[in-house]
Amino acid sequence: MHVVSRREQGVKDSDNDVRRRVRGGDREAFAQLYEEFADVVYNHALRMTGDWSAAEDIMSETFLAAWRNRGKVREDGGTLLPWLLGIATHKADNVRRSVRRRQLFLARQPRPAPMEDFAPQAVGRIDDVRRLRAVQASLGRLRRHEREVLALCVWSGLDYRQTAEALGVSVGTVRSRLSRTRKKLARLTEENMEPPTARGEMTSAAAIAAVPARKELT
């Protein structure tokens, strides 16, 4: 065990000031929290669900839940982002949980919505849409714990300690889950990586997604 100072953990006094104000129910603090982190929470939810509409709901609900649960925020501990992403992760997992409901939900989404809603941005983003879908399919091959550490610690850029805080587990657990996730992804990629064809590249996401569908209910 090594001892690090709070400064080294990236804890800033201003973060703890925000924590105190959030705890105290300061309206402005929540407005700032929203401005600062809404995009990060939205993208985290989008990566976990692959669904724009669900991601928006999750984002909105995350901040409402944060308001309701403000009393549980500790006075120190640095940025509140891990806390917010922890809430969002739980919500995203719930959205994914019931395959049955999920499929129904997707079915009801007006399919072209991403293109229509995001028309200005969608120009040149078709590959991004495809990629988001492919990554979704890959996530479906992972267990819940694996998805969570992947989304938090790799994609959203939380460090090990912050990921542990978001998930309410120890840093050691984060480490071992990450290790498991890497091995699994490597195995899935290897099993399915085919020689690139003349026409197109086989991305690792596509390779992982190509694994025959397994039960996703984890």
């Binding site: 309206r27 995009d39 409402l64 959205v95 049955r100 499929q103 790799v154 460090d159 912050q162 490597a186």
Partner: protein, 338 residues
């Protein structure tokens, strides 16, 4: 708005880098600014309302019907904004005019049969059990791929208090714990998302009052007709163990929803036919059918299909179906009745 943390002191990052290479993050998306302002406004109004009312009062109870739509309902309905439901007076449907639709007679027969079934005794420490076959389309590739039949079992806690674990799901032999709904950090109370026997028994048994209640509590969305949402909300409850009086009232309430019809061709996930009841959401091109046993009017299952071509599938494609095989009250999760 970019609050991504810069972790100044990263852990040895081989593992993370390796994973990022195997499955790189999809590109970030920006939510349009007006959407952001909309959600921020919801948050701020929520805060203001909480602070305007007696601060000592727990906010959750007050807000639950509006802001904590259960994830099942969320998922079903793609809840639009929490604010809308607030201003929605109860029972604004056009249901009062629909009393005499031809389907009423059949639903009344189904209701009468349901009302005469034996009421089980249910203890708070027990679980309601349901076994079904389900089949649905996988749309994650962007095209509908109708999957095989799956075994689906559900044990739901009957604890009247909010619970952190709602019960257990078993699909094709794999068991998953069903945790509290999103946001319910103190546990999920009984309700539409967690319909315990006792809670079902607390619903109005007068069909008109029940229907008003359903219209008031069913989340409203742009992508589903309101009447359809209520019809499907009732459908979600049909495969649960419920008090006979509640079941009888639900079918009579369904008879009052505009657009509900008989559907002789309806079949469930196992292809079982019988007496069919359906409602079609013409705007969104989706039809949901319920099937009942011809002899004893028992609920058999449901099927939801596309009725017009969509970008991900042709008209007629199955979206979701179930075939109920068994319901019971059991003592613990994992118990399967004879």
């Amino acid at each position: 708005m970019n609050g991504r943390p810069n972790s100044a002191f990263p852990e040895p990052s081989d593992e993370r880098d390796a994973i990022a290479r195997l499955l790189p993050a999809p590109a970030d998306w920006d939510l349009p600014r007006e959407q952001h302002l909309h959600h921020k406004d919801i948050l701020m109004r929520h805060i203001d309302r909480d602070q305007a009312t007696t601060p000592a009062r727990p906010a959750r109870r007050l807000l639950r019907p509006v802001f904590l739509a259960p994830v099942t309902a969320l998922a079903l309905a793609g809840i639009v904004t929490a604010g809308i439901a607030l201003n929605e007076p109860a029972g604004t449907s056009s249901s009062t005019t629909a009393d005499m639709q031809p389907v009423s007679a059949l639903l009344h027969q189904i209701s009468d049969a349901a009302g005469k079934r034996d009421a089980p005794t249910v203890r708070d420490d027990q679980f309601s059990y349901m076994m079904a076959k389900v089949r649905e389309a996988d749309l994650s590739s962007g095209k509908a791929v109708v999957g095989p039949l799956h075994d689906y079992e559900l044990w739901l806690s009957q604890n009247p208090e909010p619970v952190r674990t709602q019960g257990v799901i078993r699909t094709d032999g794999e068991t998953t714990r069903l945790n509290a709904e999103l946001g319910d950090t103190a546990g999920t109370p009984a309700g539409f998302s967690r319909p315990t026997y006792e809670w079902l028994g607390s619903l109005p048994t007068d069909p008109d009052k029940l229907l008003d209640h359903l219209y008031a509590k069913t989340p409203q969305t742009d992508d589903r007709e309101r009447d359809q949402a209520v019809f499907e909300q009732i459908g979600d409850l049909l495969d649960r163990v419920m008090p006979p009086r509640t079941a009888a009232a639900l079918y009579r309430a369904a008879a009052k929803i505009p657009g509900v019809t008989e559907a002789p061709q309806a079949e469930d996930a196992l292809g079982r036919q019988g007496l069919g009841i359906a409602r079609s959401d013409k705007k969104n091109g989706v039809v949901t059918e319920w099937v009942f046993n011809k002899e004893d009017y028992a609920y058999l299952g449901h099927r939801t299909r596309l009725t017009k071509d969509a970008s991900y599938a042709k008209a007629g494609t199955l979206l979701d179906s179930s075939a109920l095989l068994k319901t019971a009250i059991v003592d613990k999760t994992g118990d399967v009745p004879e």
